[in-house]
C-alpha cells in the first residue's frame, strides 16, 4: 500500500505552529510534524491526544514498590527469620528506603522503556522518515493526500501567511 503525502518545510517555530493550526482547521490530515526541538503548542495545533505515559509510570512505580516491600518481608521474616540487632523480623520503617529506591527505579526505567517502545525507538533503528534538516533548523509539516480532491495549490494558499520555504509531494510505501 502506498500513500501520497505533502511535505511542507518552514523556517521557524511560529510558522509551523500557525500552519498546523490552519491545516487542521482546513480539514487536512496532519500525518506528523518534524522539528529540531519540542515546539510548544504544536501538539495542540496538531490535535495530538495527551499521552498516557504517566499512568505507565504510576503502574511501574507501584509494581516496584509492592514487589520490593514484599520481597524484603519475605526474605527477612519468612524465608529465613534472623534476629538482627533485636529488631522485629518485619521492620517496616527499615524497609522503606529500599522500597522507595526500587519504586523510582521501576518507574523511571519502565517509563522510558514504554516511551521507546511506543515511539518505536530502539538501538540501530532506521528513522522512518528523515528530513535531515528537521534535526537542524527546519520545521517540517507532513499532510496526507487522502483523496483526489486534495489540491496542492489550496494548501499553498492556505499556508501563504507563513513563510513556507519549500513544498513537495511524495509517495511513500508502507
Amino acid at each position: 500500500m502506498s500513500r501520497r503525502i505533502l511535505v511542507n518545510v518552514f523556517g521557524s517555530e511560529e510558522d509551523i505552529v500557525g500552519a498546523a493550526a490552519r491545516a487542521r482547521e482546513g480539514g487536512y490530515t496532519i500525518l506528523d510534524a518534524y522539528t529540531p526541538f519540542a515546539v510548544h503548542g504544536l501538539d495542540v495545533a496538531m490535535g495530538i491526544r495527551p499521552t498516557r505515559l504517566a499512568y505507565v509510570c504510576l503502574a511501574f512505580g507501584l509494581t516496584g514498590a509492592i514487589a520490593k516491600l514484599g520481597f524484603q518481608i519475605w526474605t527477612s521474616a519468612w524465608d529465613w527469620p534472623v534476629n538482627v540487632g533485636g529488631k522485629p523480623l518485619v521492620s517496616i520503617p527499615a524497609f522503606v528506603p529500599v522500597t522507595f529506591e526500587v519504586m523510582v527505579l521501576f518507574a523511571g526505567v519502565g517509563t522510558v522503556l514504554a516511551f521507546l517502545l511506543r515511539s518505536r525507538l530502539f538501538p540501530g533503528a532506521a528513522p522512518k522518515a528523515t528530513y535531515f534538516r528537521a534535526t537542524d533548523d527546519q520545521f517540517v509539516l507532513v499532510l496526507e493526500e487522502r483523496d483526489a480532491s486534495f489540491d496542492v495549490r489550496n494548501v499553498e494558499a492556505l499556508f501563504r501567511p507563513f513563510k513556507l520555504l519549500h513544498l513537495e509531494e511524495q509517495i511513500v510505501r508502507e
Binding site: V82, N83, V84, G85, G86, K87, P88, L89, S91, P93
Partner: protein, 1011 residues
C-alpha cells in the same frame, strides 16, 4: 574418654611411642594444612596405624602437669589435641593456684613450638651428638675428679625434690663441689632475714586470704612477686563486699613506682625509696613501742607521711594476728624489720607461715657473689649452669661471660642458645617443660608431678638424665623421679596406698598433699633485729621536704634530688619476667598491665620530672649510674614518685631481632625491631649485689635527654575516664564507664556508685525471647586486679595472631579482650581502675543492624555471632560498636612460623584478611560442653561452659553462665545491687555486666561526677 582429665597409665606405656608426635599428628594435621587449598587439590587423610588408646581424632585429652613459667609451681592442665598441647589451664584442684593461671604461664606454651630451640647438643659452638658429648664430658669429669678441682653447679631455685637429689648425688662424687641457687628476681633477703630472726633460712608462705590489714612495701604480690596466682586467689578471697559485716581486707601500699599491686591498693602511698625506708622503720618503731619491744629505732617520719603511717600502725595493731606486712625490697635491713613487725603483730602462725614454708624462691645472693669471685679468680675447674641465664641477668653478666670462657670446663643446660649457653663449652639441650617429667614441692607439703604431653620435638635430654648418664647410672628421668618419690615423698603421705596407686593418683590429680618436712625454727629474735638495725647503721637517709616533689623551674637545669640525681629502680617485667620469656611473642604483645607498653621497656618518669627534663613520651634519655649507661625511651607514668626513674628488666635479650619479621610488611610498615637490635634494652647491668643481697635500687643516677626519639608503643592512648577539658579547665566530665564506690558508702547503700540511667523508649516491640540458654557474663571490678591472664587465655584459645609493634602502634592489635586501665588524678589523689572489656554481646546490638550481609547476627542463645566467612569487611559494625571491641584483619596476619602454627586451636577458624572478628564468648567451648552433655544424656550444668577468660581468671572476677537458669552463679550476680552495664543508657542491652568497684576507703569518692 575424650575431654576428660586423663592420665597416663605407666604400665601400658610402650616407651614414649604413644605420644609420638608425628604419628599422632597425622590425621588432622594433614587435614589442617591442606584445608586451605582444598578447592583444587586432593586431600590426604592419614590415620594412625595403631590408634593410641586415649586419643580420639578431633577430641582433646587433658593431662595434669606443673607450670614452669616461673618458680611458683602452679598446677595446670594441658589440653592435648591430636597430639599437640594447644592450651594450658589452671588445675582447679591444685591447692596453690586453685584453677587460676597467670598470663605468663599460659603463654609459656608457645615456647614449646619455638623454632629457635636447640636442635642438637653443642660442643664449642658446633652441633654434635649426645654420644660424642657424653664421651667428652665423662672424660673431662674423670680428670676433674682425679685433680680434685672445684665444681660449681649454678641453678635457679630448684623446687623439684628429685632434681635436688640428683644434683646432690652427682656433686657428691667430687671433692670440692657446691650447688649454688640464685634468682634473678631475688627474694634472698627475706630468707636471710629469717635466718637471723627465726634461725631458719626460709621463705614464709603468706596467707593473704586470712589478712584483714595488708601493708605492702614495694611488694608486687599480685604482679610477679613469689607466687602471684596463689596470692591473687588469697587476696580476692579476703575481699568480698558481700556478707555482713563484709570480709574486706584493707590494703595499704608504699611504693615509688606504680606496680600492679599498688594500682589495686585501697591506700597507695607514693614515697621515694628513702621515705619508704623511713616509713617502714617508723612503723616498726611505733609498733615496738606498743608491743613493749626495743628495736633500737626511733620514730622519724616525714611530715607529710606521719599521719598515714600512724593510722596504718593503729589499724595493724588492732588487727593483730590478722594483719600482714610484706616487703619486696631485697635488703636484709628492710626484711628483719618486716619480720619484727609481723612477729610483734602476732602474724606468724596466722598470715605468715614458716612452718610449711615456701620453696619457690631459695636463691642465695651471697652464694652467687662468692661464685663470681671464684670465677673471677679462675679457681673454678668446672661450672654447670642449669635453668638460669646469669650472663644475661646478673649485673656482672658481661664479665661473667668472659670468666666462663676462661673456665676450663663449662656445661650449660638450656633449651635455647641463650647468652649463657653461648659462653659454655658444652651445651646440653633440655626439653620444654611440657615434654619432660618433673616433680616439685613449691610449698612444703604440697608435692606435684609433671608429665610429658608430647614427645620431645627436639633432640633434647633432661638435665637430670644427663647427670645420671654422666654418673654411669643411665636412668631415664621418670625412674629418677619415681625413685626419689619412693625414697622420700611416699613416706610423708598419710594413706597407706601402694607406691603405684599413690603415683598414679598423684599423676592424675597433678598433686598430693603430704607431711611438711621443713627446717625447725625459733620465735622471733628481737635482739637480732636490733643488731641488724644498729650494725648496719642508723638510717642514712635524710628526711626530704614535706612536698616530696620536684620544684621545677622552667628553663633551669634539670632538678632532682642530690643535684640532678635520681634513684633508678629496676623491676622484673610483668610479661616476660626477668627475661626468661624474652623470646615469647605472645608475651611481648601482651600490654604491660599498668603501662600498657608492648614490645619495649622504657624509662618511666613522673610527669613533673619529665617536664623538668624537657622530655616527652618516646624521647630517648640516657641513664647513667654505676659507671654504666643505657639509652631508653621515656614513658610518663602518672602516680610515680618524682625522685625515681623506673626501668623494667627482662628486655634486650640476645637474638630478639628475630621479631623483625613479625607482622605485615607493606609500603609504610616499620619492623618491630631493627636488624641486629634487640627488643628493649637490658637494664640488669645496673644491678648491684650489696651486703650479700642483690638490690634493684641504684642511687645517684643521672638522666640526660639525648634528643633522639624511639617509637614507644602503648595499646591505650587516653588514660582517664575524665574527658579532657578542651576549654582549658582542670578536668572534664567523668564518664560512668567504671562505677566505683567506697566500702563505707557501700555499707550504707549497697547500690552506691552504681549509676543507672533510664533507657529511652524503643520504637520497636521487644519480640525476641530466648527460650533455651541465654548466655551472660558478669565481671566483678572489685575482684579484677588487671593482671591480664584473661587476655592471654583468649589469645591462646582463639588463635589470635601476633601483629607486631607497628600494627599495635597503628591501634590494630587483635586481642578480643583488653583490660582498660584508667588513672584518676582528680583532687590531687591518684587511683587506678582496671576494666576488662570485650564484646558485650548486646541484645540490641548496633553492629548487627548495620551489617549489610548478615555476617553478624544474634543467636537464639543471646550471642552476638560473627561469621568470618560471610564477612565482606565493611567495618561498619566496628564503627558502630560503642565499646570499640571489634577487631579487623587489616592484613593477612601470619601465625608465626610453621612450628608455631602447631599451637593453633583446630576448633577455631583462622581468620583471613579483610574480615572482622571479636569475642565469641568462646562458642567452641560452649558447643563442646553442650555436645558433651548431650552425649552423656544430661542437662548442661552451670559452669560446664566457661570461656577461656573466665576459666583462667586467678581472681574469679569473670562469671559466665546461663541467665535463664535462676540457680546459676550469673543469675545471682544480676540481682546484686552492685550490678551495672556499661553505657546502658544507649539501650543496646549488653549481655555483659559489671559489679561496681568497691575500694576500702572511708571517704565518699567519685560519686558527684557521675551525673
Amino acid at each position: 574418654m575424650t575431654e576428660e582429665y586423663g592420665h597416663i597409665n605407666v604400665a601400658s606405656l610402650p616407651g614414649m611411642g604413644r605420644r609420638s608426635f608425628l604419628r599422632l599428628a597425622g590425621f588432622s594435621f594433614a587435614g589442617a594444612v591442606l584445608a586451605g587449598c582444598q578447592q583444587g587439590g586432593v586431600e590426604k587423610a592419614i590415620p594412625h596405624l595403631v590408634q593410641p588408646e586415649e586419643s580420639t581424632p578431633g577430641s582433646a585429652v587433658w593431662y595434669s602437669t606443673i607450670c614452669a613459667g616461673c618458680q611458683a609451681g602452679c598446677g595446670i592442665l594441658a589440653k592435648v589435641r591430636d597430639g599437640r598441647p594447644i592450651k594450658l589451664e589452671g588445675n582447679p584442684g591444685h591447692p596453690l593456684s586453685q584453677g587460676g593461671m597467670c598470663a605468663i604461664g599460659q603463654a609459656s606454651l608457645l615456647g614449646l613450638y619455638d623454632s629457635l630451640r636447640l636442635k642438637a647438643p653443642l660442643m664449642k659452638g658446633a652441633p654434635s651428638s649426645w654420644q660424642e658429648l657424653d664421651r667428652h664430658v665423662m672424660a673431662e669429669l674423670d680428670r676433674i675428679r682425679r685433680g680434685k678441682g672445684a665444681v660449681r653447679f649454678l641453678t635457679g631455685t630448684v623446687t623439684s625434690p628429685a632434681t635436688r637429689a640428683v644434683i646432690q648425688r652427682f656433686l657428691g662424687s667430687f671433692a670440692d663441689a657446691r650447688h649454688v641457687e640464685y634468682d634473678p628476681m631475688s627474694c634472698a633477703a627475706i630468707l636471710d632475714a629469717h635466718r637471723l630472726t627465726h634461725g631458719a633460712r626460709v621463705l614464709p608462705r603468706y596467707h593473704f586470704a586470712e589478712a584483714s590489714v595488708i601493708t605492702a612495701f614495694d611488694a608486687d604480690f599480685l604482679g610477679n612477686w613469689i607466687s602471684p596466682v596463689e596470692f591473687t586467689k588469697g587476696y580476692r578471697a579476703g575481699r568480698t563486699p558481700a556478707g555482713n559485716p563484709a570480709r574486706f581486707s584493707f590494703h595499704a601500699h608504699f611504693e615509688s613506682r606504680v606496680s600492679l599491686t599498688g594500682s589495686n591498693a585501697d591506700q597507695r602511698v607514693c614515697v621515694s625509696p628513702d621515705e619508704l625506708q623511713l616509713c617502714l622503720e617508723g612503723m616498726a618503731a611505733i609498733i615496738a613501742e606498743r608491743a613493749g619491744r626495743t628495736l633500737g629505732l626511733s620514730v622519724r617520719l616525714p611530715a607529710n607521711l606521719d599521719n598515714s603511717v600512724r593510722r596504718l600502725a593503729d589499724r595493724l595493731w588492732n588487727a593483730r594476728g590478722r594483719g600482714l606486712v610484706v616487703c619486696g625490697v631485697n635488703t636484709v635491713r628492710h626484711q628483719v624489720l618486716v619480720n619484727a613487725l609481723n612477729a610483734m603483730l602476732d602474724n606468724y602462725g596466722g598470715t605468715v607461715d614458716i612452718d610449711t614454708p615456701s620453696h619457690q624462691y631459695a636463691g642465695n645472693d651471697a652464694g652467687v657473689e662468692d661464685l663470681l669471685n671464684e670465677l673471677r679468680r679462675g679457681s673454678v675447674e668446672a661450672l654447670f649452669v642449669s635453668g638460669a641465664n646469669p650472663v644475661y641477668d646478673l649485673p656482672e653478666g658481661q664479665a661473667l661471660g668472659e670468666w666462663m670462657k676462661k673456665t676450663p670446663f663449662v656445661v650449660s643446660f638450656s633449651g635455647e642458645d641463650d647468652e649463657t649457653a653461648a659462653c659454655a663449652r658444652y651445651v646440653c639441650p633440655t626439653p620444654h617443660f611440657l615434654e619432660a617429667w618433673n616433680d616439685s614441692e613449691p610449698v612444703s607439703g604440697i608435692v606435684a608431678l609433671a608429665q610429658p604431653t608430647i614427645r620431645s620435638l627436639r633432640d633434647s635430654r633432661q638435665m637430670i638424665e644427663s647427670l645420671s648418664v654422666w654418673s654411669g647410672d643411665n636412668a631415664p628421668a621418670l625412674d629418677l623421679i619415681r625413685r626419689e618419690w619412693e625414697r622420700t615423698i611416699r613416706e610423708r603421705h598419710a594413706t597407706s596406698q601402694t607406691m603405684d596407686a599413690f603415683w598414679n593418683r598423684t599423676l592424675a590429680d597433678g598433686y598430693a598433699v603430704v607431711r611438711s618436712a621443713s627446717a625447725p625454727h625459733h620465735a622471733c629474735d628481737y635482739d637480732a633485729v636490733a643488731t641488724v638495725v644498729t650494725e648496719r647503721g642508723p638510717t642514712s637517709v635524710s628526711i626530704p621536704p614535706a612536698t616530696g616533689g620536684v620544684t621545677a623551674s622552667p628553663g633551669g637545669p634539670p632538678p632532682g634530688f642530690a643535684g640532678g640525681r635520681y634513684t633508678l629502680l629496676l623491676h622484673p617485667s610483668l610479661t616476660i619476667l626477668d627475661g626468661r620469656h624474652g623470646h615469647n611473642p605472645w608475651l611481648h604483645e601482651l600490654p604491660d598491665p599498668v603501662t600498657k607498653i608492648v614490645w619495649d621497656n622504657a624509662a618511666s618518669l613522673s610527669r613533673k620530672t619529665a617536664e623538668a627534663l624537657g622530655v616527652r613520651h618516646g624521647d630517648l634519655i640516657r641513664i647513667e649510674a654505676n659507671q654504666k649507661f643505657l639509652e631508653l625511651p621515656v614513658h610518663i607514668q602518672p602516680g610515680q614518685h618524682d625522685a625515681v626513674v623506673v626501668v623494667t628488666l627482662g628486655y634486650g635479650r640476645k637474638g630478639t631481632d628475630r621479631f623483625r619479621d613479625i607482622g605485615p610488611e607493606w609500603l609504610q610498615s616499620r619492623p618491630t625491631v631493627g636488624s641486629g637490635e634487640t627488643v628493649g634494652k637490658n637494664a640488669a647491668l645496673f644491678g648491684l649485689i650489696e651486703a650479700g643481697c642483690r638490690t634493684n635500687r641504684i642511687d645517684a643516677a643521672r638522666l640526660i635527654p639525648t634528643g633522639g626519639t624511639h617509637v614507644l608503643v602503648t595499646t591505650q592512648e587516653y588514660h582517664s575516664l575524665r574527658e579532657p577539658n578542651l576549654f582549658g579547665g582542670e578536668t572534664g566530665h567523668r564518664r560512668p564507664i567504671v562505677q566505683e564506690t567506697t566500702l563505707a558508702a557501700f555499707a550504707n547503700d549497697p547500690s552506691a556508685g552504681s549509676f543507672h540511667k533510664e533507657e529511652l523508649d524503643s520504637l520497636w516491640p521487644d519480640d525476641h525471647k530466648y527460650a533455651g540458654h541465654h548466655w551472660g557474663m558478669t565481671i566483678d571490678l572489685t575482684a579484677c586486679t588487671g593482671c591480664s591472664a584473661c587476655v592471654m587465655a583468649c589469645q591462646a584459645e582463639n588463635n589470635i595472631p601476633v601483629v607486631g609493634k607497628d600494627e599495635v602502634r597503628r591501634n590494630r592489635e587483635l586481642a578480643w579482650i583488653r583490660v582498660d586501665r584508667y588513672y584518676d588524678e582528680a583532687r590531687g589523689e591518684f587511683s587506678v581502675s582496671h576494666q576488662p572489656m570485650m564484646c558485650q554481646h548486646c541484645g540490641n546490638a548496633p553492629c548487627e543492624t548495620v551489617c549489610p550481609v548478615l555476617a553478624t547476627v544474634h543467636s537464639a542463645e543471646g550471642l552476638n555471632q560473627q561469621i568470618y566467612n560471610r564477612c565482606v569487611g565493611t567495618r561498619y559494625c566496628a564503627n558502630n560498636c560503642p565499646y570499640k571491641m571489634r577487631r579487623f584483619n587489616w592484613f593477612e596476619y601470619r601465625h608465626g612460623d610453621e612450628m608455631q602454627r602447631m599451637v593453633l586451636n583446630p576448633d577455631v577458624t583462622v581468620r583471613e584478611r579483610g574480615v572482622m572478628e571479636k569475642c565469641s564468648f568462646c562458642i567452641q567451648r560452649i558447643q563442646g560442653a553442650k555436645i558433651r552433655a548431650k552425649r552423656e544424656g544430661r542437662p548442661l550444668n552451670d559452669g560446664d561452659a566457661q570461656p577461656a577468660c573466665a576459666q583462667s581468671c586467678p581472681a574469679r572476677a569473670i562469671i559466665f553462665g546461663d541467665v535463664n537458669d535462676p540457680s546459676s552463679e550469673i543469675s545471682k550476680t544480676l540481682s546484686s545491687p552492685r550490678h551495672y552495664r556499661v553505657l546502658e543508657e544507649l539501650g543496646v542491652r549488653p549481655s555483659v555486666g559489671y559489679l561496681t568497684l568497691v575500694r576500702n576507703r572511708e571517704e565518699q569518692a567519685g560519686e558527684a561526677d557521675h551525673a
